[in-house]
């Protein structure tokens, strides 16, 4: 059974159809890439999946459960974590607190326990702290845990955002243009990191413009254009597809 199964997901803004009947599946432990020219509706599609928009039609099944139209916080609890196209780290607080906030919905500390069972509450917070430190170590940000997020370099902030998303132990991680603004060396590091996550058992959906990156990381690629799904296939198939090249040629050079 696929982890994520969308059926004819549609999002309309008035007369504009931003996402038009997109159906796709994501299987456990695979990296699915979504590409498409600007305005193809990739981010709108992801927003409809993660509860930022309510889909106007279709169904989203996650681990067999219908989560269509759930609010964002509930979808996060069900196990979908995401990053944003334009960085949304919490800039005025420390790296550590950023990631701790990411773990929010996995810290099982009911409000009344703060007063009625303070020792248990403290223990659970400490466990979360230890988990977050391990995660920061894993991505190489442990030494900067006390720095304010806004004082990190751009690449580090990108890493921090992924790390924050991972802190919620997601079943599915969605990366929205993770390479935006990166140079090719940083991109290679990121590609290795994403593949390593997959090898560790993480299921990932990536939206990205950069073809080199997508060809390198994706197990399967979905091409979107004008709000609808246009093609689906392995990176090699997509690369050699003349129609896909045509879609892209209208907008930009084929690399």
């Amino acid at each position: 059974m696929p982890i994520l199964d969308t059926r004819d997901v549609t999002k309309q803004f008035g007369g504009l159809v931003a996402v038009n009947q997109v159906s796709m599946t994501v299987n456990k432990n695979e990296i699915v890439g979504i590409i498409g020219p600007n305005g193809a509706g990739k981010t709108s599609f992801i927003n409809a999946l993660t509860g930022i928009y309510k889909p106007t039609g279709g169904q989203v099944l996650f681990q067999g459960k219908d989560i269509t139209g759930f609010p964002a916080y509930k979808i996060a609890k069900h196990g979908i974590a995401r990053t944003f196209q334009n960085l949304r780290v919490f800039s005025n607080i420390s790296v550590l607190e950023n990631v701790l906030i990411g773990a929010h919905c996995r810290i099982d500390n009911p409000f009344h326990h703060i007063f009625l069972r303070p020792l248990r509450s403290k223990k659970i917070e400490q466990q979360a702290y230890a988990k977050v430190i391990a995660l920061l170590k894993n991505v190489g940000l442990e030494e900067k845990k006390e720095s304010l997020a806004k004082n990190l370099s751009y690449g580090e902030q990108r890493t921090l955002e992924i790390c924050r998303a991972l802190a919620s132990d997601p079943e599915l991680l969605i990366l929205d243009e993770p390479c935006a603004g990166m140079n090719s060396a940083e991109m290679d590091t990121l590609a290795d990191f994403v593949k390593k996550l997959r090898d560790d058992g993480q299921t990932i959906v990536v939206i990205e413009h950069n073809m080199c990156f997508m060809m390198a990381v994706s197990d399967r690629i979905i091409v979107m254009t004008e709000g609808a799904k246009f093609r689906e296939g392995t990176p090699a198939e997509i690369r050699n597809d003349l129609e896909v090249q045509k879609v892209y040629l209208g907008e930009q050079e084929v690399e």
């Binding site: 993660t50 916080y73 974590a81 919490f90 906030i101």
Partner: protein, 312 residues
């Protein structure tokens, strides 16, 4: 190493509380004690307001109304219904909490500037009701002759007694807010301040957390009001004007918003002392207070002891 700095923090805090407890042994001047009591009241208010403004980023212009709800509840229950202070105090806190929830529910999804306007309106409505509903609140004459409080048989009479009572409430307020903000709840409030949409996608049910932060802040305002009622023995609508709400905001901003819970107290001290020192200059004193605020904001935008500033 972390444990060490934590231990040192608790030692410092313990020392600070011990010093505060000893103050009435050395300070016998009634005037100075009365200023200290005023500071204690504002400290309780500002600790609560910091949770709303500093943590969650909600600019509430109606904090004085919740302070007033607490004060009128205690005043009315003690003068008309023979309530003891402890019972009236609890009723004040609960009623302010409930009022906080009632205001926070409809405003949970409105944007910052509208939230500001709604709380401003609520503050004014409260003041107007307190002024006009003569049968219940005695209007501008206020409720007078509030009896001296007794706590488990101990009568609170002198300025020093009130100082201890107020300090007790302040310490409870501090420890409660500290306990809350040291957990995922405090971090969720900060996440809402920093980026509400991102907070949502972290699994934070933002409307609920906003209601929570706002109403807990109001709960402590209710406690401060209850203390004010028995301390002043009189409550009038003019205690709860918009200027009071603004003064509290200024104190929190001047002292410093956010994680450092004691920072707003620096603002309380600066503003209270300034008010007293320039009391003789009557209306001009607002000019001087305004000047202090502008200077602090220019030189230290994050406040005297603050860690985080308004987003630029």
């Amino acid at each position: 190493m972390m444990m060490d700095s934590k231990k040192r923090k608790w030692l410092l805090l313990g020392g600070l509380i011990a010093c505060l407890l000893l103050v009435p042994m050395f300070v016998t001047d009634i005037y100075i004690l009365s200023i200290l009591n005023v500071m204690v009241v504002y400290s309780i208010l500002c600790l609560g307001l910091n949770l709303i403004l500093g943590f969650t980023g909600l600019l509430s212009l109606g904090h004085a109304a919740f302070y007033g709800i607490g004060a009128y509840t205690t005043a009315i229950l003690m003068t008309r219904y023979d309530f003891g202070f402890v019972a009236a105090f609890c009723a004040s806190a609960v009623l302010a909490l409930v009022a906080g929830i009632v205001i926070a529910i409809p405003t949970r999804k409105v944007r910052g500037d509208y939230f500001c306007l709604i709380t401003l309106a609520f503050g004014e409505i409260f003041r107007l009701v307190a002024t006009s509903w003569i049968e219940f609140t005695r209007g501008a004459m206020g409720i007078v002759r509030i009896p001296m409080p007794k706590i488990f048989g101990i009568a609170i009479v002198t300025e020093a007694h009130f100082y201890y009572l107020g300090l007790g409430i302040l310490i409870v307020t501090y420890l409660t807010i500290k306990a809350i903000t040291d957990t995922r709840y405090g971090r969720a409030f900060i996440a809402i301040r920093e980026d509400e949409l991102a907070a949502d996608t972290m699994g934070i049910n933002t409307p609920i957390y906003k209601i929570m932060a706002f109403s807990i802040g109001c709960l402590f305002a209710g406690m401060a009001g209850s203390f004010l009622a028995v301390y002043q023995t009189v409550v009038t609508p003019s205690n709860f004007r918009l200027e009071e709400s603004c003064l509290m905001i200024i104190m929190v901003i001047v002292g410093g918003m956010g994680r450092n819970l004691l920072a707003p107290l620096a603002g309380v001290i600066v503003m209270t002392v300034a008010t007293e020192v320039f009391r003789s200059t009557a209306e001009y004193r607002m000019l001087i207070i305004g000047l202090i605020m502008i200077l602090v904001l220019l030189l230290r935008p994050q406040g005297i002891f603050g860690s985080s500033s308004f987003k630029s």
